[in-house]
Symmetry: C2
Subunit: 208 residues, 2 copies
DNA sequence: CGTAAAGTCTTACGTTGTAAATTTATGGCG
DNA sequence: CGCCATAAATTTACAACGTAAGACTTTACG
């Protein structure tokens, strides 16, 4: 049944496979999903995916990259949304970050999964991850441009990032017991960062 | 070769197996290690481990529990070490936390791995994890007892925990690019928490 | 219109986790 | 002291996995 594959055909198949893989990964975990399942779901034979991906590891990397891209898109959307001032926009980006993580916990787990050692070697993954990181520091540059922040935007951007990531990961690991959850810890942490870096009477800032 | 197994025999074999598993997991990742490898390393047949563990998942849970126990032990040692004052002891516990994570990155990854969904169902794992968490809040109770802190010890303990965990996990995910690393972000975050919760001129507090 | 090549499918292999059957050694009882 | 029920370990066996190799099938171009 082969007609010559255009690059568009290739990337369409890759996308369809990643869509299916994403759902199955989220439902059963990446280890429990087999190539044969993916192939069956797509109505092709077990070997067909290997025309489009080097191996299963590459499929995992591609799905992780796509998750990072959707995450980055959510952050960029928040940054592009009109806001009354730079501080509000900044908070909106933080809120978008947390909302994405809590509404797509399986995607977030995949993004920051620590069990694929060579992930940075996949260019798509590296680029998508860098794109998320970029917005996390860019919004501090916005604040600096508006004269609302004077300091190391890269450093404080990373600190802010870690202040969201830590609580989220603790919650997703199942190690936060009621009444504690990511939201609450993030509120506490971002309040501390805000006071530290925006003066003792700086703008009130939760993440939403 | 069977002599009746005493409970001591059983737990000795379990320990030996976990020792081996820990090393192999650290070296190759838990997915890449097979039961047959573990058995060979122990000089027994492939099925023998199944006398001591229900399945591979239970072995992973046991190794994770042991890692949490060693971590908890490191924290408890730091807490038990004499210090000139409660603040210093508190900082030492934070330092012990970070040191353990950075000196045993594979163990730390395993502890907070997000890919074993039913982990809390293993009592050993749940207990070991709770033991680590307990020390992370206990040292704030020490500060409160010394009159150096007035506030919600549980809440701020968790916030402090998240402030260490976030940077560490970002670094272990390989997503922190020079010049940023966990140490630096932790310094920034703990400084902010300290100022927030110990007044604008509270004690200077890095984590070491 | 034929043919080289591209795409797909089928077949096949080594490895995995583990169930079932088998062997082996021992501690308790006549 | 000798036998044997049984606990422990091993051997064997199987279905499922990732994927290499080869066979088939369709298309684009000379």
């Amino acid at each position: 049944m082969p007609k010559r594959l255009t690059p568009a055909d290739v990337s369409e198949f890759r996308n369809r496979l990643c869509d299916v893989a994403e759902h199955l990964f989220a439902e059963h975990g990446p280890d429990a999903v087999t190539i044969r399942q993916l192939a069956a779901e797509l109505g092709v034979s077990a070997m067909t995916p290997y025309r489009y991906f080097a191996d299963k590891d590459a499929i995992l990397a591609a799905v992780r990259a796509r998750a990072f891209d959707r995450h980055a898109q959510a952050l960029e959307n928040a940054r592009a949304t009109p806001a009354t001032n730079a501080t509000e926009r900044s908070n909106r980006i933080g809120a978008a970050y947390v909302r994405f993580a809590l509404e797509n916990p399986e995607a977030y787990k995949l993004m920051f999964d620590v069990r694929q050692p060579g992930a940075e070697a996949y260019p798509d993954y590296a680029r998508a991850a860098a794109r998320s990181r970029a917005t996390m520091t860019a919004h501090l540059e916005d604040l600096a441009a508006a004269g609302l922040f004077h300091g190391d935007t890269q450093l404080v951007g990373h600190i802010y990032w870690a202040a969201l990531h830590g609580p989220i990961m603790l919650q997703l690991s199942g190690l936060l017991l009621p009444p504690f959850d990511a939201e609450r810890l993030i509120t506490g942490l971002t309040a501390a960062i805000t006071k530290e870096h925006f003066g003792p009477r700086g703008p009130e800032s939760g993440h939403d």
